[in-house]
Assembly symmetry: C2
């Protein structure tokens, strides 16, 4: 499963997600879909007391392990749907661009709620439902190859989307903005903020084409709190 690379479109996601993440100092942090462990190491730089990273990819977990010798970061190879931590084990749960690969978001909400302390934070990003509505996740071009607009279709038809990224086939799960939000609320979370990606000034300066990121949101970020 290819992942977005920090510094490319990932940068548009991270500079917003970071703003939503609470103070991590002396917190026990869980990272769902940790990939190469970038956010786990970030959490430790912020002086988290412990960080647990979970990813289904053996290869990524292995790379993540190689990239640190910090005894306070531990990596677990598991599917996000299969996590089974102690009740109230974590203060903060983060996840970057992983849940659109997961079939049931409701079950993610329940698992996270179980292992999060009352008053704890859950902050995540996903590909935006405007971005994932079609199998062809691309602009609509005219015959000159110019981007005319971003096409939305079958928005209300949730489920599998078969798409490609760097010539590889990828299965994603499209769901609506309202499903993300209502699943969280119905699990008992309180919505703190909802963000939709916009290009940063820095991105616009270095890559002028990034202005198109204002034309449709690529990422959706949500931060919630577990009721006390």
């Amino acid at each position: 499963m290819p992942r977005s690379v920090k510094g490319l479109e990932g940068a548009g996601e991270w500079y917003i997600l970071k703003e939503l993440i609470p103070e991590l100092k002396e917190k026990n942090v869980l990272d769902l879909g940790c990939g190469f462990g970038w956010h786990c190491r970030y959490a430790r730089e912020q002086q988290a007391s412990s960080v647990t990273g979970v990813d289904i990819s053996e290869k990524m977990i292995q790379r993540a392990r190689e990239m640190t010798n910090d005894p306070l970061i531990s990596y677990i190879k598991a599917s996000i749907e299969d996590i089974d931590f102690s009740i109230s084990q974590f203060d903060v749960v983060i996840s970057s661009l992983a849940f659109h690969y997961i079939k049931s978001f409701k079950s993610v909400c329940e698992k996270v709620s179980n292992c999060l302390k009352p008053g704890g934070s859950f902050v995540f990003s996903v590909e935006h439902p405007i971005f994932t509505s079609r199998n062809e996740q691309d602009w609509y071009y005219n015959e000159l190859g110019n981007r005319l607009h971003w096409p939305v279709d079958n928005y209300q038809i949730e489920g599998i989307r078969e798409t490609t990224f760097l010539n590889e086939n990828i299965t994603k799960y499209h769901r609506t903005v309202s499903t993300y939000i209502n699943d969280l609320i119905n699990t008992g979370f309180i919505i703190s903020a909802v963000k939709e990606s916009v290009p940063s000034d820095e991105m616009l300066k270095s890559i002028p084409k990034m202005i198109d990121e204002n034309r449709r949101p690529m990422f959706l970020m949500i931060s919630v709190e577990k009721g006390k």
Copy 2:
């Protein structure tokens, strides 16, 4: 300003909005952008103790007054931005398809919060940001006149959209889903539910073309509670 007609696309909005409206019995209800007073009369059918309807259109308010002799419904000709009710005067504030005509949603939130009792409900619908992103609020067609998809563009560029409805020019204000939600949260509201319009079974049976309403959401409905 033309308004959607109950029974046409309005039906797709109302059957969802209705589910979000709390029990109105013995409640003091405010309806912002009441038009011909349809929701005001509905609230009284639900045994609301009093209903106040506000609309900027003299003509609509006049028609609304003609359509009832209920002494417990009162109509006020005013812009939603200019309302000035007593603190905690209402138990429930509703609004159907009006706020996308209002420049500042934040100021609406503040006005509503002021006149709503602690624990009171605020439930409204607007045209969905996916629907309002472009000036041309229409499907993208191929040369045979078939609907190819719904085009989204300039999603992150909030502000005026100049569009037409039944040959009349209309000014709307586009804003993002996240702006609607964050303005509410930052005013102190707690998000209870977010819905995006889908065609009802009834609509699909009577107008098969309504299946296209699954392709993009036309309306966004949000219900929130004022903290106690």
